[in-house]
């Protein structure tokens, strides 16, 4: 007989909750109640310790550029753009774009902060250099 444990979460799964939060302008990530570590992207089990006991927390939005690249485009396809990996202050790493600065000027180690805006139609967590309007 299967062990009878509580469901790992109530209602919609973490994937759906993530997108609903971003749609509402909220940058929230999961934090494990068992090992205390945060994780991203959204999943039902803590990626560090496997626990199903976790909670959503507000991300501080503070991050550091771990690596960066510039996607070069033909002029007819649009301007070059930045693709970066951001280490969040809470620990997880995510892909994003650093905007508000020329793509090649994004440097590894740069302090950045998050904002939410549509890239195409879909709202996404994007970053800009820390302390800029």
């Amino acid at each position: 007989m299967a062990s009878e444990r509580a469901a790992t979460f109530q209602g919609p799964g973490p994937d759906a909750v993530w997108f609903e939060n971003v749609k509402n302008g909220k940058f929230r990530i999961q934090k494990c109640n068992h090992c205390g570590k945060a994780f991203f992207y959204p999943r039902p089990l803590c990626v560090h310790c496997g626990s199903a006991d976790w909670a959503w927390i507000d991300a501080s939005g503070k991050g550091t550029v771990y690596s960066t690249s510039v996607v070069r485009q033909r002029p007819e396809d649009g301007p070059d753009y930045n693709i970066a990996l951001i280490d969040l202050a809470e620990g997880p790493r995510m892909m994003s774009r650093v905007t508000g600065i020329a793509p090649p000027e994004v440097k590894i180690g740069m302090a950045v902060e998050a904002y939410i805006a549509p890239l195409d139609k879909e709202p996404l967590v994007l970053f800009k250099p820390a302390g800029r309007q």
Binding site: S67, T68, V71, R72, Y81, I83, A84, L85, R93, M95
Partner: protein, 384 residues
């Protein structure tokens, strides 16, 4: 005590198609030519094949498609696991285990692609659920560019170091009549080639060609019953660190750091014993990362190691002697071709590019976005 899989199976047949442009042909038709050539090389008929190992970005259910399409009536073991371009290298571990346990007797590992001339050109595979994709990284090159940028930041690796990998590959390709790109190439040529995703220019990136390859593997106890000298599998290790590049723990350390020690331990070798190296050079940073993670040089020293000529023709550590994915052939899942080149080197039939007296070949297949790494050690009969 030696690992039970050390030397337990051997490659007794290899088959290739022409590389480059094969217009008007489907990936399965190309795969078929490779299979036909591999079976002929082994002196086997198709109905003697009872283990089918193959996968393709184009085929969701390859494991049932290939036996039907090629009329393989006696298949007992099927594996179409897809971990990217290293799938066929990964399949070698499964094939060796299946052969060793007697689940099958003749394993066929095969691949074909019309990535250059076919309608499916570009775009790459669907890697499934991805929180990276909405930012529109240009994949797969973007993931490798991020790894290169981090390596450059952390260790002072330069674009000239990266370019030296492409130049070395081209020098080998110039010795290989089958190679797709054989024109002279200099570091300056690489640096002035079209920027794709910084820090990579187009000559830091592998080719997109058509082509196919296949190999036949049997148990060692009957490996001498075939027309060509058997090439034995001495060791194998498979490891994965992530799917999406954002989830790779350290962009400067690949899963080769886990896979290679396992392969060395099974084979009972160290890097010092290796005569020839064949790796999946999807992008120039791959070769640098793999040389470090193999243990040929310290972490961070791969750039200068390559720039010093170590892997080029005449160097101490001949690498990608066919010209690699950068200059010889790259139809999307290059892992098959490194094994075929290793076998040709160990058979001693590699012509102008032959590494004299090669007895041990080290291979590493790469899949996804540096996601899967599979290290293989092959040896001649003398190494058993």
């Amino acid at each position: 005590m030696a690992h039970p899989l050390r030397g337990a199976v051997a490659v007794v047949g290899i088959g290739l198609t022409p590389f480059g442009e094969l217009p008007g042909r489907s990936h399965l038709e190309i795969m078929g030519e490779a299979i036909h050539n591999a079976l002929a090389d082994a002196g086997l008929k198709k109905d003697q094949v009872d283990g089918m190992f193959g996968s393709n970005f184009a085929d969701t259910l390859g494991g049932v498609l290939y036996p039907e399409y090629f009329g393989l009536k006696n298949i007992k073991v099927i594996d179409s696991t897809n971990v990217g371009g290293s799938s066929f290298n990964n399949a070698m571990q499964e094939a060796a285990a299946a052969l060793h346990l007697g689940l099958c007797d003749v394993a066929l590992v095969a691949y074909g692609s019309n990535a250059r001339t076919g309608t499916r050109r570009g775009g790459g595979p669907n890697f499934g659920r991805s929180f990276d994709a909405p930012y529109r990284p240009r994949q797969p090159v973007n993931s490798y560019a991020l790894a290169a940028a981090r390596h450059m930041h952390q260790y002072g690796t330069t674009k000239e170091h990266l370019a030296a990998v492409a130049v070395s590959a081209r020098q080998w390709a110039q010795k290989n009549p089958r190679a797709f790109m054989r024109d002279p190439l200099t570091v300056a040529d690489v640096l002035k080639s079209r920027p794709v995703v910084d820090p990579f220019n187009v000559r830091d990136c592998c080719l997109v060609t058509d082509g196919g390859a296949a190999i036949v593997v049997v148990r060692a106890d009957r490996a001498k019953d075939f027309p060509n000298a058997p090439v034995y599998l001495l060791g194998v290790g498979s490891a994965t660190t992530h799917n999406d590049i954002s989830q790779m723990p350290d962009l400067t350390v690949t899963a080769v750091a886990q896979a290679a020690p396992r392969a060395y331990a099974m084979a009972g070798i160290t890097p010092k014993d290796v005569d020839v190296i064949e790796v999946y050079d999807a992008f120039t940073i791959n070769t640098i990362l793999f040389l470090e993670d193999f243990g040929f040089c310290k972490k961070g020293e791969g750039g200068p190691f390559v720039a010093a000529g170590n892997i080029a023709p005449g160097g101490k550590h001949p690498l990608n002697t066919n010209g690699g994915g950068l200059s010889c052939v790259h139809p999307g899942m290059y892992g098959m071709f490194i094994m075929v080149e290793a076998v040709e080197q160990l058979r001693g039939v590699a012509g102008d590019r032959q590494v004299p007296g090669a007895e041990i070949a080290l291979c590493n297949g790469n899949g996804g976005y540096l996601s899967s790494q599979v290290t293989l050690v092959f040896g001649t009969e003398a190494t058993l």
